[in-house]
Amino acid sequence: MAGPELVTADRPLAGRSRRPWAGLGRRRSVQSGQLAAVVLFLPPALLLFSLFVVMPVIEAGWYSLFNWNGFGSPTQWVGLSNYVSVLSTRAFMLALRNNGLIILVSLLVQLPLALSLAINLSNRFRGAVALRMLFFLPYVLAEIATGLIFSFVYDGDYGLLAAIWRAFGSTNPPHLLGSTSTAMLAILIVVVWKYFGFHMMLFIAALQGLDRSQVEAAQVDGASRVQVLRHITFPHLYPTMRLSVFFAIVGSLQLFDVVMPLTQGGPADSSQTMVTFLYSFGFTRMRVGFGSAVGVILFLLCAGFAFTYQRFVLRNE
């Protein structure tokens, strides 16, 4: 009932300065509607969010200050020494390096690949939709399944790669996953293969919002293909690119389930990521405090990145 009353209330003042009051009236009526929505819809979401996101983060922070094997409740307070030992573990440094590598490859290989495919596939031609689906398929596949499939592909005795190698006359195909120098490369290939389709779809969706008449007008004016790309297509895609970069980096920091079936982080920790490190050095060794410290470091990195990126790059959207 509040809405109509307010509208009638501002009527006498309409002659003098109509717009500000009318605006206020509308805003207040919208606000009361919002309040109801907030009261109704926020608690369940907030409850779930605090139960499954905020609480675990705080708990992990608490556990990380203890030497604890996961049984009962933590009692042996060790201060920050878990953090010291995480940072002085060689495997963790390798994991950091690998996460950096994954980010680099995602940004420098995966996104350009996705972008070029998207630009080509957004044109209407026979088979474009089929190709889009084909390139998107790897993304739909479960991560563990992907890892298992590629562990067969990479197998140096029976794998697809070995067969190709032999077809070119080699008698001794490489075991990519069994060598410290190639295991990470093998994982990077899988990561690019698995996720480029997702970014491609983002770009295609954005391109469908592109006004064709702009492109046609430019072409009529004699713009070359490169000029159209540079002055029309890319500017139109910037918001999506910023989003893509965000997804690629956060996803790279959290990479786990593709790595486990392929290498479990080995050989000699050469393909460890922060999360596989957390799993194999925290979880499976019953060192919950140590693992929590890794989790907190990972959280700080992710949250730090996400907030900075939101603040400086995504703020206009």
Partner: protein
């Protein structure tokens, strides 16, 4: 009455009905056994137990080895915990006892526990209380392929010392045969080499002294020497290509397919190799042989010391009381004899080893019976956090990314940090 409370009542009623239907006890039985033939034999025992105990259901559940180890801690503290579950004793058992998540079985097993081999029962005894029932013993040793050995002209019977083993590896390599297959990605199959060499070097006294920090602890000369001897083998490049990326069962599979002459493995592999072979048959008794782990020059360990494991069942706190009855039925002379007769296990019930007819398993049972000291795997006996460091360093030694000194020091540092 509003809708919500009506719903709550409904749910309550449902729960009542549900519990009524489940008045019988369910024994959740969590294990890691992969061999379908053995699981079938176990299930038979469970069905027989259900037949004689109306109202009791035995519900076997399988988890993959590594997944099992990482999940168990959480599982045991959840309402969904298993009533009885697989254990390798050692440091993990001690942590579980300390945490109070498993049942003290001492009183429930009075009288019965005398039927078990006392040295094996000792593995499940902490501070004079019995916390588990062992059901099988295993020993680590070299399985070898007789046909491939004959092809390379190697006499398995002549391999007594580590140098003999190195010589055999060289001969096999020269004949174009992969000497050893191993699942290096899982790391512990490689740790078996280091563990066994350390056992041969230092023996029982060496291991127990190291735990007390004597003689340089795990960084002492015996453990460095073990690494050096292992490195002698690694330097010959005896493993299949890409062994650091292979899983345990892949390594066994290569051996079972006749693609490698040897594999260092646990005695139960005798049966499991059939299941993981490409043709599902694996190596037959004519082709498969056993070489006891060789001795090392100047080693303080005896040739009759054995490395291996004990497998047993633990009972979680608050499990149905029938669980212990089922375990007693499972680890009884009849069932043990039956499992032993089909070559599945080296039994732990006194006298049940008489039932082993299979000559291959009989030989191993004999070695275990004569064993002067049975060393449990390091990754079990030292507990999960130190044990996994042993596995790590063994893999690093095999990959050439660590020296024997660094390896021994890393284990010692982990042990000191944990104790």
């Amino acid at each position: 009455m509003n809708r919500l409370s009506r719903m709550a009542l409904g749910a309550g009623a449902l729960t009542l009905v549900a519990t009524g239907a489940w008045a019988e006890e369910t024994i959740k039985w969590l294990h890691v056994e992969v061999s379908p033939v053995q699981v079938a034999a176990w299930t038979e025992v469970a069905r027989a137990f259900e037949a004689t105990h109306p109202g009791v259901k035995v519900q076997p559940q399988y988890l993959e080895n590594e997944a099992y180890k990482s999940k168990l801690t959480t599982l045991l503290q959840s309402p969904d915990k298993p009533a009885m579950f697989y254990s390798w004793a050692g440091g993990v058992l001690q942590a579980q006892v300390k945490a109070g998540v498993i049942e003290d079985l001492t009183d429930r097993l009075k009288g019965y526990s005398d039927t078990l081999n006392p040295s094996v029962l000792a593995a499940f005894t902490v501070d004079n209380r019995i916390y588990g029932v062992p059901f099988a013993l295993t020993e680590v040793g070299f399985f070898y392929n007789k046909a491939l050995f004959a092809k390379a002209g190697v006499d398995a019977g002549a391999i007594k010392s580590w140098d003999d083993m190195l010589g055999a590896v060289k001969k096999l390599k020269a004949a174009g045969i992969t000497p050893l297959s191993v699942g290096g990605a899982d790391k512990w199959p490689l740790a078996n080499f280091w563990d066994y060499l350390a056992l041969r070097e230092g023996g029982k006294a060496g291991f127990e002294g190291a735990m007390r920090g004597e003689n340089g602890g795990f960084a002492g000369p015996d453990f460095v020497k073990a690494g050096e001897l292992f490195k002698q083998l690694v330097d010959l490049q005896p493993f299949q290509n890409g062994f650091l990326g292979a899983k345990h069962l892949t390594g066994i599979g290569l051996f079972a397919d006749g693609k490698a002459a040897m594999t260092l493995a646990i005695s139960v592999i005798y049966n499991q190799q059939r299941a993981v072979a490409a043709d599902k048959k694996g190596l037959d008794d004519e082709t498969i042989g056993w070489i006891t782990f060789p001795t090392v020059p100047g080693g303080k360990g005896l040739a009759s010391d054995t490395l291996g494991g004990v497998a047993g069942w633990l009972v979680s706190k608050g499990a149905p009381k029938e669980t212990v009855d089922f375990i007693k039925a499972f680890v009884s002379p009849e069932v043990q004899g039956k499992l032993a007769a089909s070559g599945f296990i080296i039994p732990v019930v006194k006298g049940a080893d008489q039932a082993i007819t299979n000559p291959f398993m009989r030989n191993i049972a004999g070695e275990l019976a004569r064993s002067t000291y049975h060393q449990n795997y390091y990754d079990q006996v030292l507990g999960p956090s130190v044990g996994r460091v042993v596995n790590d360093v063994a893999a690093e030694l095999a990959g050439g990314t660590m020296t024997p000194e660094q390896a021994a020091k890393a284990v010692d540092a982990a042990w000191k940090q944990g104790n």
